[in-house]
Symmetry: C3
Subunit: 343 residues, 3 copies
């Protein structure tokens, strides 16, 4: 009878084409929905109000897209990132079907690329993860890549196979939730009058408000997604006694803050890419700003899509990179996503 | 394309008779009910137990009245108090209909008074706010007044129009939830034997227990009500780095502590008035005491009403004002409300 | 009209055979289930997933057994341990029926033993507590004993009547939830391949991960169980300004950590005994390890039982007692329980 605890996978444990069934399925209810609203200043009306969702043609209110993302992501942690040195990026994230209270989510991944790094001590692993509901319908699909330690430095390098990833999900691939229609959208109840046509490519929006983050909050959130990475919970894990905040906590905080200026960007249809540019710790006061990167029509004339850069920062708005193209030290997150908004 | 973020209204933006539809409607579920019990030491049986509520004639357990108040109040913040210098008071608050899990709440306000202050830099705005459910039934109505900054100091003062406000909701106006009957009330399960007849006008009750408040808790609560006032969340907002705790958090904490001595004061029927006498910050150990201000019968012989003063303090019980009539520095809250209790 | 607040019972207030109906009944919903997952790194699939529970033959997912235990325990605090000097132990704890979202729990106790201590200032009280659902079915039964202050030191000692308690619940008494069957158990989804047969008596398992505990978290949890003991909430209650963490918080944290190595120990069937060996305070980084004390078959050939020692510690795994048999100072909890696991 050997060790029964999961020590996590090392770089050698991944092979191109390998499929991983992640534990543990999770039923999401009104409890998680309430907690999402307690953890983040979330106010987008479609996820906040059953009545508003019904008036927009939906049979039931969708759970916040990021709640779904975090839940699926959390399941992959024990298999993908327990020994990760760095969470390098996201690509080609597609929200394919709304998730409702009562649904049960599970996750599966396929290794779509491996590449040893030049140091020979670590390797990069690309996985495509899908989230499935209790009817085995895929609700979410995304690519993530991480740098993982080798178990044995002298293990031979596999053939490098970095995948070819799109810089953004094509607008024509965006999925509209069944029934969604913004024809009778109530802008007063949604909180702002700004429609798709009111936003211009290149426009930047300062979301103004700041939130100072506490240890208890990010741990409650990260546990809620059943994310078990010890760096988030164990103050003895780093020499400086700090707990690293789960990057998804920063994403959700920034997205919720973006209500102020993007109140009508109701749904996330795709995550094109994302970089956690700097670690985040408790005590940080986080602010957010957005830039309109692109605009697109959708098959439904009442619904438009905005491609947005969402930046979380501890500094002033609109500052992103230095002269060398490196992220400024105050920038924590640079997220590129498509949102659905009334036209 | 101008600025898209809400900078809040200034005194000049309010006019007598003006109506404001507040964003964002919110569906309340068992999740919010559970969180209310996690955030506050709430034990009143009617909101705690479906079975108890049914035994008292209710079709479903009512959500805590203060949960309803905070949810409605939170909606008004972006329109009423984002630029408020001070939250001056409440009056004529009436709980008109129970709210149940699954209900969706929204809010509307009417400006019922404006008055520039003598400094010329600020003005007082009185609003009557109503909370409505998904059937457009009014569940709550109250008056609140705040001191708001002027955008432009040299703007002319409007005609002063302070409203005429009742010092208390008349007992005969109190609304009993449909079906409520305390005839078969189980005092053992409720936690205390004290009936309406056991309380005397002038009686004071020390609720004994203290709670030391944490940043994470008050922020979770305040976000849950979708209250966006930055003073509660942003530690960089004040020179001293403190986050001001939402006054409603203090109200709920004190009301929950008042279970010990007022366990049978099951429902809040009216808020007659309220003053946040001093700001509250994390680290404060809050205690509460009550005074019976008045008693009244109701149309149902099994139900009586107690008019109570609920005081939150960091000091000893029963001390309220100094010789000059000013609140003592340790007093945080002086709330005047009507509660329903078995006779 | 005398004092209306509950000062708690003293040793003299207990008599052998006395029955206590505890306040306040509480309806548990998906909200409490979500909060349990936010407060603890709980991942056992049966409580996490409706689908998984159904695949194991259950009509609905069981709420975490410890959530039930804490809820029932919390109700006893105002009557049993408000003046307790020490929480001495648990015995003969039996989980008799699953609790589901929507159920309402209440509690009753019987005094089954009293004994004055040699100091003459305190006494030990043994109570058997049962938790009941809204159909008056007993869902849980356990014995707990506490040391309680005497109101009056010169009060005469009662006849000592310590009860005869089993050192463990006999395996043949363990109750299987109706319908439970692990024949088609999905080990991939559950997270680990280890079956009943893979565990040996005497085997020890280090659960590896550590969690640093915050004040806000343990207070949220303890309030959620409506546990009112002031030592958990009031930082002014002790000279050192520390808030004592509810022992049940430590139990739940350790049990959730034990997923890593005991992922398939899905249900707690009995609590044989438990000792809170040292107090726990915020800032503590808690770890856990388990030892297999015994194994048993059950009437269902797909289900086995493991008797486990669950230890919470701030130190290294597997260290429990010193040479004198005393708990090492780093040991916080020593819990002895029966778990159900697929064979």
């Amino acid at each position: 009878m050997g060790a029964k605890t999961n020590a996590g996978r090392f770089f050698e444990d991944y092979a191109l084409g390998q499929r991983i069934v992640h534990a543990v399925p999770r039923t999401i209810s009104g409890g998680e929905r309430a907690l999402y609203h307690a953890l983040y200043p979330a106010r987008h009306a479609l996820a906040s109000s059953d009545s508003f969702a019904q008036a927009c043609g939906l049979s039931a209110p969708p759970l916040d897209d990021l709640l779904v993302f975090h839940t699926v992501f959390g399941k992959t942690v024990p298999d993908v990132s327990l020994n990760a040195v760095a969470n390098l990026g996201y690509a080609d994230g597609r929200f394919l079907r709304p998730v409702h209270a009562g649904d049960t989510l599970r996750a599966e991944s396929e290794v779509i690329g491996v590449k040893e790094t030049s140091s020979g001590k670590t390797g990069i692993v690309w996985v495509r993860t899908i989230g499935l509901n209790q009817r085995d319908e895929t609700v979410l699909s995304y690519v993530r890549w991480v740098m993982v330690r080798k178990r044995d430095v002298i293990a031979p390098a596999p053939t490098a196979s970095p995948p070819d990833l799109p810089s953004a999900v094509p607008a024509e691939d965006l999925t509209l939730p069944e029934g969604l229609d913004f024809t009778n959208y109530n802008f007063d109840l949604a909180g702002e009058p700004h429609r798709w046509g009111d936003y211009a490519i290149g426009e930047t929006i300062d979301h103004v408000d700041g939130v100072t983050i506490e240890e208890a909050e990010h741990m409650l959130a990260t546990r809620l997604w059943q994310n078990t990475a010890k760096v988030h919970f164990d103050a003895t894990n780093r020499p400086d006694g700090k707990r690293l905040i789960y990057g998804g906590h920063v994403i959700s905080m920034a997205r919720a803050l973006s209500f102020n200026g993007l109140a009508n960007a109701q749904l996330i249809a795709a995550i094109n890419g994302g970089t956690h540019a700097a670690p985040c710790f408790a005590g940080t006061t986080l602010r957010a700003w957005s830039e309109v990167l692109d605009k697109a029509e959708t098959p439904n004339p009442s619904i438009g899509a905005l491609r947005l850069r969402l930046t979380a920062t501890t500094g002033a708005p609109f500052a992103l990179r230095d002269e060398m193209g490196k992220y400024l030290p105050e920038v924590l997150l640079d997220l590129d996503y498509w949102a659905l908004i009334p036209r």
